[in-house]
């Protein structure tokens, strides 16, 4: 499916019309009296429609970077733009609105709302956006069918396997038709077959919907499925590779 074409490029200059643009992003956490430097002057551009992996060992800053792009966290210094909008200093309320309107999340631990059914989880963000029931259904059901869970829409998360839960999380992330889907180690809790299936699904949706996917991983098998890989180490971007072109 992917044609490997390794090429190292400077992240800041990879594309001029970037959807996501990070400049000199630094994030320092205060752990008691210690300062932990999670990101150290990261520059990065992500273009619309990319299917990109953030690769690096644990503690390299992958999740922190995803948090900042998803406005779950603010950078200590630097500028972060999404579609030209500076999102680095949004208030909590504006940040929630921004996430609801622009970002879909897929988490390592699935993080479905346990008391809601598969369908209710998938439509949750649409409900927060105030969409009427028929429109919610018209958006959610095709996606559920698309991921093969249309028959299981009434099941609660604990009645689904890990892979099924993660596919519901994918549907939830895509239901709002976001500009970006951020996935934090989405396959970490899945076996290799399920991981491969999920990555295939994400890639197909990326191609069909032209949604930008940015996901973190340290699994070499997963990294190979990305079309571009950004490598992180100790809070710095150490390299970027284009593995495939569409």
């Amino acid at each position: 499916m992917n044609e490997t074409n390794q090429e190292t490029v400077a992240p800041a200059t990879w594309q001029n019309g970037a959807l996501i643009r990070l400049r000199q992003i630094t994030r320092i956490y205060q752990e008691g009296s210690l300062e932990v430097l999670a990101l150290r002057g990261v520059d990065l551009d992500i273009a619309e429609g990319e299917f990109t992996a953030l690769a690096g060992p644990s503690g390299s800053g992958k999740t922190t970077l995803l948090n900042i792009i998803g406005v779950l966290d603010h950078p200590t210094a630097g500028r972060v733009e999404v579609a030209g909008q500076d999102i680095g200093r949004l208030s909590k309320g504006d940040a929630a609105d921004f996430r609801l309107g622009n970002v879909g999340f897929i988490f390592q631990a699935y993080n479905l709302v346990p008391v809601l059914s598969a369908y209710e989880n998938a439509e949750f963000t649409l409900l927060l956006r105030g969409l009427p029931a028929p429109e919610r259904k018209s958006r959610v059901m095709p996606l559920l069918e698309r991921v093969g869970l249309g028959e299981m829409k009434d099941r609660k998360p604990h009645e689904l396997s890990g892979g099924q839960q993660q596919r519901i999380a994918v549907v939830r992330a895509l239901a709002t038709r976001p500009a970006i889907v951020l996935a934090d180690e989405p396959t970490a809790n899945l076996d290799s077959d399920t991981s491969a299936g999920l990555l295939d699904l994400m890639l197909e949706l990326n191609q069909e919907l032209k949604t930008t996917f940015l996901f973190s991983t340290h699994d070499p098998v997963v990294i190979q499925r990305a079309r571009r890989v950004i490598r992180l180490l100790d809070g710095r971007v150490t390299g970027a590779e284009v593995l495939a072109t569409v």
Binding site: R99, L100, F107, E120, F124, T125, L128, D184, E185, S216
Partner: protein, 414 residues
């Protein structure tokens, strides 16, 4: 959707929900039940106090209550009685002749507090025949010199029914006189002070004994239901002042102020008790909710990450509280109302708590049977207060939940 999530969340954390619900339900039910008992106890105390005083309002010759002097009598008893009865708000006027004297038998003599009463009129305040242990009550006997004596006096004087006794007392003109009575009945109230000194006869016999025909010591007044004795007392003052008799008109609260203090203290204890219950419930709920918030940090962080704003997260927690409170109060109401019905039906005698001789200002409380009295407005006020306390106790935890940073809540750090 928030309602749906909130409701389902309650049952996902079943043990916690049941613990909190039962705490609120039990406290609320106990609160309603306590209020029912307290209100009934309060009313019974008022009734007992009025009964102990001789009426809700007392009319005497001016200065009598302070001095208890036997020469201070209402001279024109029938005229004053008619005047008092004519005052607005008066339900019943009960004339009495009160004589402090000495009763003698063949073996000795005892102090006697003798009340000459009209048995029919007296029923408006109390049924003294309830205390009759032996013999006949005043309206059952054919004798014109009947006397009912307290059981202790009868025992000390070694008397039997039908025996003759002599009353020695002071006439209105100050002369000492003697009068013969026949023991027609023995009364026992359970109060030692009363049973040692109490004597009852007819109004006519008492008046004849001290040569005070047409005179009375006291007119006890019962007001129409719902009227405040203060206002009726003012009406009586107006009509009696106009008739020119030198009379004093006292409410029972003025006559026995120490009883008012006792009832106020009793009420205060009830309110303190309720405040303590509320405080314990509020503290327990606030702590449980706070723990629940800490347990559910990740869940709240997830909702926030998905786009639910802080106030939405707080709203979710408050919705859960509202649902739980509604459920708890429904259960609590059933418990409280069942307790109210049971207490109303069977009553709780104070004697089962070992209260045997509880007397304040001559008023017997030991014989009280506590029942429950439903005061809808008070129950409504208590229900609103419980709801506010319960929901209020969740405000801080909800505020904490709304302030959680989603990244920290979800412990993202890669």
């Amino acid at each position: 959707m928030l309602w749906r999530i909130a409701w389902r969340n309650l049952w996902r954390h079943r043990t916690r929900t049941l613990t909190m619900t039962s705490a609120v339900a039990f406290s609320y039910g106990l609160c309603l039940f306590s209020m029912g008992l307290g209100d009934d106890g309060h009313q019974q105390m008022l009734d007992e106090a009025a009964e102990g005083a001789g009426g809700e309002i007392l009319v005497h010759a001016d200065g009598y209550w302070e001095s208890k002097s036997s020469d201070l009598l209402i001279r024109d008893a029938s005229g004053v009685l008619a005047t008092v009865e004519s005052a607005p708000g008066v339900r019943a006027a009960i004339p009495r002749m009160i004589i402090n004297g000495l009763v003698s038998s063949a073996v000795g003599n005892r102090m006697l507090f003798l009340q000459g009463i009209d048995p029919q009129r007296e029923l408006a305040l109390r049924d003294l025949s309830e205390h009759l242990e032996l013999g006949e009550f005043l309206d059952e006997t054919q004798r014109d010199d009947p006397l009912l004596l307290g059981a202790v006096i009868v025992e000390k004087l070694e008397l039997d029914l039908g025996d003759r006794v002599v009353l020695t007392a002071t006439q209105p003109d100050g002369e000492v006189t003697r009068a013969l009575f026949h023991l027609t009945g023995i009364i026992e109230t359970g109060l030692i002070d009363v049973d040692e000194m109490m004597g009852i006869t007819t109004l006519d016999a008492a008046q004849a004994a001290v040569g005070a025909h047409g005179m009375v010591t006291q007119i006890g007044v019962m007001a129409d239901p719902g009227l405040v004795s203060d206002s009726v007392a003012e009406q009586i003052k107006v009509v009696t002042r106009a008739s020119g008799n030198g009379l004093e008109v006292l409410t029972w609260q003025e006559a026995i102020p120490e009883m008012v203090g006792f009832i106020e203290v009793d009420d205060a204890f009830l309110y303190i008790y309720l405040v303590v219950i509320f405080a314990i419930v509020a503290f327990a709920i606030a702590n449980t909710f706070l723990m629940a918030v800490m347990e559910r940090v990740r869940e709240f962080g997830l909702l926030n990450a998905l786009g639910l704003k802080g106030r939405g997260v707080a709203g979710l927690l408050l919705t859960e509280t509202l649902l739980m409170t509604t459920l708890a109060m429904a259960i609590g109401f059933v418990l409280g109302f069942a307790g109210h019905l049971a207490a109303s039906h069977w009553g709780i005698p104070l004697s089962i708590y070992g209260v045997e001789n509880m007397e304040v200002s001559g008023v017997d409380f030991a014989s009280l049977v506590m029942r429950s009295k439903l005061n809808p407005m008070k129950w409504l006020a208590a229900s609103i207060l419980v709801a506010l306390v319960t929901i209020g106790s969740a405000l801080y935890p909800a505020w904490r939940a709304s302030r959680l940073a989603p990244s920290e809540a979800m412990r993202f750090f890669g």
